[in-house]
C-alpha cells in the first residue's frame, strides 16, 4: 500500500494555498477495518492527507530542497465522520513561512460542509542535528507528485503555470522508480 492520502491536487498556488481531494472508498483497508460494522475513514488519516497537501505546499516554496517534517499538530477539530462515498475537499493555507519551519491552516470539507480544522507546524531538518540523509528520493517524489496531478494545476506566486522543479528532474534519470515511497 502506498502512503498516499490524497487522490489529486485541484488547485495549487505557490507560497499561498493548495487544494486536493480524497475520495473515501469502502475498499480501503483503513475504512473497512477501523471500526468494524461502522465504516469511517480515520481522522488520523485525514490529518495525514491535510499534512501531505500542506507539506507539499511548503516543500515547493523551497523548491523541494528542504527536508520537511510534520512536527506538531497545534489543534485538530473534527465535525462529522467521513464515510464511504464521501469526497473530502482539502485546503491548506500558509500562515507563516520561514527558513526553519512553516505554519499551515488546513480544512476538510464534505459536500460543502466543514468536516475538519487542523493547525499544523512543519519543521525543517537541519544538517547539524539530523545529518544529510534524504527523506525522499527526489525522482520518487516527482513520480508521486505526477500521480497526484500536481503539475496540471500548479501555479507560481504570479499565477503562471509552475514548471517542474529542476531539483527533482535532475534525479529522475538515475533513480529506481517508486522504490521507497509507501
Amino acid at each position: 500500500m502506498r502512503w498516499f492520502w490524497i487522490d489529486r491536487f485541484t488547485y495549487f498556488k505557490s507560497r499561498e494555498r493548495a487544494e486536493a481531494i480524497k475520495n473515501i472508498s469502502l475498499t480501503e483497508e483503513p475504512v473497512d477495518e477501523y471500526l468494524p460494522r461502522f465504516p469511517i475513514f480515520p481522522n488520523s488519516l485525514i490529518i495525514e492527507g491535510l499534512a501531505q497537501t500542506g507539506g507539499i505546499l511548503v516543500a515547493e516554496a523551497f523548491d523541494f530542497r528542504e527536508r520537511i517534517v510534520l512536527a506538531k499538530i497545534g489543534s485538530a477539530k473534527f465535525f462529522k465522520p467521513a464515510r464511504p462515498g464521501d469526497q473530502l475537499a482539502y485546503t491548506a493555507r500558509i500562515d507563516d513561512l520561514q527558513n526553519d519551519g512553516a505554519v499551515i491552516s488546513a480544512q476538510a470539507h464534505c459536500n460543502g460542509e466543514r468536516q475538519a480544522d487542523v493547525q499544523m507546524l512543519f519543521a525543517f531538518l537541519d544538517e547539524a542535528r539530523f545529518g544529510t540523509e534524504q527523506l525522499f528520493n527526489p525522482a520518487n517524489l516527482l513520480t508521486m507528485l505526477r500521480l497526484m496531478r500536481l503539475w496540471e494545476v500548479a501555479q507560481d506566486a504570479e499565477g503562471n503555470p509552475l514548471t517542474v522543479s529542476k531539483n527533482l528532474l535532475d534525479d529522475e534519470g538515475t533513480s529506481q522508480p517508486m522504490a521507497s515511497i509507501g
Binding site: 512536527a71 506538531k72 497545534g74 519551519g101 505554519v103 507546524l121 519543521a123
Partner: protein, 128 residues
C-alpha cells in the same frame, strides 16, 4: 508600545496555545521545560507565535545559543567556562543566568528559561 502587563498577557496566550497548559500555570516564575513541559519542537512553535503576536523578528540564536553551548572553546567537561558564561550573558542580557552560573552544566541549560525571561526578551525587542 505595549506595557509590561500586555507583554505578559500575550506571552501567556502564546504559551497556553502552544503548550496546552492553563492560564494559571503560566506564572512569571514557571520554567518553560520543567514546569510547562515544553519540548524542543514547542520552542519553534512559540517563536512563531511570539513573532506574530508582537510583529517582531526573533533570530533563533538569541533565544537558543546552541553555537555557544556546543563550542569547545566555551565548554569543558560538560560545563560552560567563565568565557562561555560571559558570551552567554552578552547574548542573553535579558535572562537571569544567576542560578545557572552556580553550576553551569550544559545539560541544565535547556531548563533555564522562565516565562519571565521570555517576557524580558520580548520587552527588549519591543522596547516596553
Amino acid at each position: 508600545m505595549p506595557t509590561q502587563d500586555e507583554v505578559f498577557e500575550k506571552v501567556q496566550a502564546a504559551l497556553v496555545d502552544a503548550l496546552g497548559v492553563d492560564d494559571d500555570e503560566v506564572t512569571p516564575e514557571a520554567t518553560m521545560v520543567g514546569d510547562l513541559g515544553a519540548e524542543s519542537i514547542d520552542f519553534l512553535d512559540i517563536v512563531f507565535k511570539l513573532e506574530k503576536a508582537f510583529d517582531i523578528q526573533i533570530p533563533r540564536e538569541e533565544l537558543f545559543p546552541e553555537d555557544i553551548l556546543t563550542n569547545s572553546e566555551y565548554v569543558k567537561d560538560g560545563k560552560v567556562t567563565d568565557e562561555g558564561l560571559a558570551e552567554l550573558k552578552k547574548r542573553m542580557s535579558w535572562a537571569d543566568l544567576s542560578k545557572f552560573e552556580e553550576n553551569p552544566r550544559v545539560q541544565d541549560f535547556g531548563d533555564l528559561l522562565t516565562v519571565n525571561d521570555l517576557c524580558s526578551y520580548v520587552n527588549s525587542k519591543v522596547g516596553a
